[in-house]
């Protein structure tokens, strides 16, 4: 009788841990998916991997902090107002940085060899990371708490308001992106340039402008992910974008590179498997596990988990 109760209790505990990890993994997965979408979008249009996606997240997080601390003081605003301010600040800064990077480093080398494009985009990401390092230093900054510190229970797991917000807002952004791609003129241009920049140009599409718009959309996604990362972890740091950048890329490959819906799926799969692996194997190897998954997926399913993706 007594033993049964202990066994039952332990089973419930494991269950609640698993459901907790699913909830945590889902939150993380949404963030990865947003970064993956940025990679996929820019890759789709330019055919090269723009490394600085993770750094744009970081820039966004710092932009949000700046907006909340400097402007938030003068504007009497509630939590909702501050959150809006944070997102606006993040998006503004990240879009500016993204556009400057596109203009100075990416546009001049659009015709260059793939390797050179990758090197230039790597250079951009190093410049951004080190500019922040040199201006604010290497310490952790605590992110303003924009969300109430309560929690509710869902299937034995603790779900916090920030977690619900991350999932809801990510879904909102993904649906918005889908709508842009499928139902607007910009989306049409984007898809046309992605098929062939030359043909699009001949059809009177302004390729430069379309690519700029792509960078704007990518920066918005990255900045939003950055704000939510800051709010979720509670801290921001100059190199907070590096690993999420690589993981976002992993997510993009997992889902089959070049397909927005795949990027979302890949992000969720990566986030959940990473938290579960960290919970059951070892948390000091959690990043190594995510990276090993990247190598492993390339071996078994280079085209992504579902369908073919861009394999050659």
């Amino acid at each position: 009788m007594f033993i049964d109760a202990v066994v039952l209790k332990r089973a419930q505990m494991i269950d609640s841990i698993l459901s907790q990890q699913l909830v945590n993994g889902l939150t993380l997965g949404c963030l990865y998916a947003l970064i993956a979408l940025g990679y996929t979008l820019i890759f789709g249009v330019m055919r090269f991997i723009f490394f600085a996606q993770g750094e744009l997240c970081m820039i966004g997080a710092f932009g949000a902090m700046g907006a909340v601390f400097w402007l938030g003081r003068h504007i009497p605003a509630g939590l909702i107002g501050l959150t809006t301010l944070a997102f606006l600040g993040a998006i503004l800064v990240a879009v500016l940085v993204g556009l400057v990077a596109e203009r100075l480093a990416i546009r001049p080398i659009r015709q260059a060899a793939r390797t050179k494009q990758l090197i230039a985009s790597l250079g951009v990401s190093m410049i951004l990371q080190n500019l922040i390092l040199l201006s604010v230093g290497a310490e952790n900054y605590s992110f303003p708490s924009l969300f109430p510190n309560s929690a509710w229970s869902f299937l034995g797991a603790r779900v916090t308001p920030i977690q619900s917000f991350v999932v809801a807002f990510s879904i909102f952004l993904m649906v918005g992106l889908h709508w842009i791609l499928r139902a607007t003129r910009l989306g049409l241009h984007l898809r046309a340039v992605s098929e062939s920049a030359e043909t699009a140009e001949l059809d009177g599409i302004d390729v430069d402008r379309t690519i700029m718009m792509t960078f704007i959309v990518g920066s918005v996604l990255a900045a939003s992910a950055g704000v939510m990362m800051g709010a979720y972890d509670g801290v921001v740091k100059y190199n907070m974008g590096f690993l999420p950048g690589i993981k976002g890329f992993t997510a993009a490959i997992l889902g089959g590179f070049g397909r927005p819906s795949g990027a979302m799926l890949g992000g969720l799969v990566l986030g959940v498997s990473e938290t579960i692996a960290a919970g059951y194997i070892s948390s000091s190897y959690r990043d190594a596990i995510a990276l090993a998954l990247l190598v492993f997926i390339l071996i078994v399913r280079p085209g992504g988990l579902v369908g073919k993706g861009l394999s050659s």
Partner: protein, 605 residues
Amino acid sequence: MSAILPLDWGKLTAERRLPLTALALALALAAFPLTGPSNYLLHVIVLVFVYVSLGMGLNIVVGFAGLLDLGYVAFYAVGAYSYALLSLHYQIPFIPALLVGAGLAALIGVLLGWPTIRTRGDYLALVTLGFGEIIRLLLRNWDSLTNGPRGLMNIPSPSVMGFTFSNPARFYYLGLLLGMFSICFSWKIKYSDVGQQLAAIQDDEVAAASIGINPARWKLYAFALGAFVAGMSGVFFASWQQFVSPESFTLGESILVLSIVVLGGMGRLWPTVAAAALLVLLPEVLRGLETYRILVLGVLLVVIVVMQEKLRLSALKKRRSTSLRNKPSEVAPLSPLRTVPRRPIGKTLLSVSHVSKHFGGICALQDVSFEIMNCEIVGLVGANGAGKTTLFNCIAQTIPADTGKIYLHNNNGKVLSLTGQSAFQAARLGVVRTFQQPRLFHSLPAVTNVKLGQQCRNIPALWEPLVHFKYSDGSDSSAANLLHRFGSATYETMVEGMSFVDQKLTELARAIATQPEILLVDEPASGMEPLARQSLSQALRWANETLGLTMIVIEHDLEFLRTLCDRIVVMDRGSVIATGAPQSDQVVRAIRRTLENPETIDAIA
């Protein structure tokens, strides 16, 4: 793409005399410790040697093969920790440990590169970035083996045959040896047949495969050689510092080595050596720079790449205009068209049976079956979108068919199945194609393009570039002859900037140089003036009569085909609708029908 390798490939003599220069430099540097420099100075110069070696190794990967490796120091770490652990725990002597460390790095390179390089080259950048982090995390967290962040101390000094490298001057000589070895090593790779094939792969992978070069094999080879050099450098580094810790193998180090390669011009040798010296010495001279080091490297990477691209584009513009000015006006002399004596048409050479190909919902080929006889010239006719080029893609395995079989009956009476082969395997078996838009190796002269075709079946062994010097000098006369035969008088010029027609002719010569069993020619006469068409027709006939070459020719110029071909195959919307002699009723009727078919007329319009 061209700026990655020196443009005047054949004429670059300064780099080709490299061993002599290297020897002179080594002798001069060997005298340096005799002047009694401080230990600090010796230390800094040995550091330069280490980075020269690393730069040379990464140059093989980034410069020669065009692969981006962002976790290069992971291989350096593998070498360093191998030596540290082997010498600390097992007292393994220096030379065996050097071989194990470098060999292990190369092995890991193969295991990591094999899945990645086969799929997409640019995934490699992020996979290696991730791999570099995995290795660093392992070194930090695997306490029992690596002693975690504290690192491994008191690593024994290397000793070779009783001679122990115990003081800075002795390490200086060991470092000098390492640097010189790496320079000569990468020089040997660059000026080997493999080096030339890597250049071709970097220019155009599909074209390289179409003449029998296996792109994945040589890229993986270069990647593993780069890892080997890094492992070797790591062994030296550990034995010299007598201490290793994860902090020596950060991403910043990988970036530094990459910056050396980029600043050195990606693929150049001496400039890379100079770049290594500059980037290692500069922070030593300007101490205050240390904080800004990575920022400066980032700016450097972007600025160099952007500048190189600007230079390349402006050089391209210049070369285009000069080539137009010097355009040869003469056309090869005409001889009357010969219609009769030709080789007897033999037995079946190629059989295509029930081949189908879909692209998404579009059916490009539907149950196509036909046979080609030995020594035949067959014309392939059809409206645009009839599936002619798709058929070529399926036969040459550029894009494999969904269903159906393709067999080659070669001269030894063997029947070989092409289905399931790679493009380069099909080319080696004797099925070679040209492309509608000519695909040449832009950074190489026309004559080298043809020479690479001649090497189709002579596959260099893996050790060959390291063992002997095979890269032949100057222009090969048979390759030049072949080019001349095809009326491309510009064989010494670089491909970039050649006229469209000259490019098509050069590509044709390159394909014929592979000595194919069957040649698939995609629209050879498009864009040619009537006189040039006639001489092209003669050249194709010459290849058929003297070389006994079988051909399938796609062409829209029916007059051109009528005088050239023995047989015409007419295609319409993915199917063969008629075959027969050029003037036969059924062929004439079928051609008329495809052109009067309202749907195909729509397709043309």
